[in-house]
């Protein structure tokens, strides 16, 4: 099977999910503030379990995936982020792109952690999949995520319907990239 990386930043460790992340993973996906702009429905424990189980499969089949995000200072689970291919029934299709996503427990909001984590993931992907298009979908009223995506170089290129209206963004490959 494809190995999953560990990525270290100033304040965070991005590492493969573990089975014992389950309880806090449930807390994450059952939190109304977390799911508000991601489907709108709190995950049941069974649904969170399925999601935790499918994380390694993305790495195995696609060579990319999500990682758990941990705070270095405390060792606490902060959330998760990375790239996935969800094979959504959606036009434009995102199949073949690196679709970025992230979710953090509200207790860790406001510290700039998502930027720090996702910047590190993008740097990893730039090296591992050079030239591959990175995409994201964001609910139209999710202002904080738009701000972050824009800071990471993502620009809107379509609006479409996927269980409600979503904005589709794409990150242009930097011309001056080394």
């Amino acid at each position: 099977m494809q190995s999953m990386p560990d990525i270290m930043t100033d304040r965070l460790i991005l590492r493969p999910h573990r089975r014992d992340d389950y309880d806090v993973f449930c807390d994450l996906w059952a939190h109304p503030d977390v799911v508000r702009h991601i489907g709108g429905k709190r995950f049941t424990a069974e649904e969170s379990w399925m999601r935790l189980m499918n994380r390694p499969g993305m790495w195995h089949f696609m060579g990319f995936g999500f990682l758990a995000i941990e705070e270095r200072a405390t060792g606490r689970f902060v959330g998760e982020g990375g790239f996935h291919e969800v094979r959504r029934d959606m036009t434009p299709s995102l199949i073949g792109t690196l679709e970025m996503g992230w979710a953090l427990l509200p207790a860790f909001h406001g510290k700039g952690y998502p930027f720090e984590a996702m910047k590190a993931m993008i740097d990893w992907a730039d090296k591992t999949f050079p030239g591959r298009t990175m995409t994201a979908i964001i609910a139209p009223d999710n202002a904080p995520s738009f701000k972050l995506a824009s800071k990471l170089g993502f620009l809107e290129y379509a609006r479409t319907d996927y269980h409600g209206e979503v904005v589709v963004l794409r990150r242009e490959v930097a011309q001056d990239a080394a």
């Binding site: 390694p56 499969g57 195995h60 089949f61």
Partner: protein
């Protein structure tokens, strides 16, 4: 990650999933006959993909999981069988057991493939996880699967309601 074994039987190969299994996999779970007793609703491609990914995760976290089933004569992907722990919210709890499951394409039903595949998987499980309880959970209306379970030595231990369906929990 945990490596996934390959098991040969007379007519079948149980092997790790490959990325190119996904097309027939999505087709399998889009068949209402197949999902009739597995949630009751045919899977969208996106749902089938999530399930496909999850099967690999099970091996990663537990060291057991489901196998892709290939028909030896044709090389075709015809279904899946194996073990999972789904943390189901159910009473009595089957958490910590190896819950045995299978799904076979309707085009090859009636040939004893489920019994052959699951039987081989159980032989593997007996060696690799000798002390772990093997269970299965089957909709009470799913006579074909209940028959397979009985043939393989599962005995009913409880009946309960799970997501609105009456199910039989069996143990081996």
């Amino acid at each position: 990650m945990q490596s996934i074994p390959t098991i040969e039987t007379e007519r079948l190969v149980l092997r790790p999933y490959r990325r190119d299994d996904f097309a027939p996999y999505a087709h399998l779970f889009a068949d209402p006959e197949v999902t009739r007793f597995i949630g009751g609703i045919p899977y969208s491609r996106e749902q089938a993909w999530a399930r496909f990914l999850r099967q690999v995760g099970m091996w990663h976290y537990f060291g057991f999981g489901f196998f892709a089933i290939q028909e030896r004569a044709t090389g075709a992907f015809i279904g899946e069988a194996g073990f999972h722990d789904l943390h189901r919210v159910i009473t009595p709890s089957i958490e910590g057991s190896m819950e045995t499951g299978w799904a076979i394409a309707t085009t090859v039903h009636g040939q004893g493939y489920a019994t052959e595949a699951v039987g081989a998987a159980l032989t593997w499980a007996r060696k690799s996880f000798p002390t772990t309880r093997k269970t299965c959970l089957i909709d009470i209306a799913n006579r074909a699967s209940l028959r397979v379970a009985t043939k393989l030595g599962f005995r009913e231990v409880a009946r309960t309601v799970y997501h609105g369906a009456t199910v039989v929990i069996s143990e081996r």
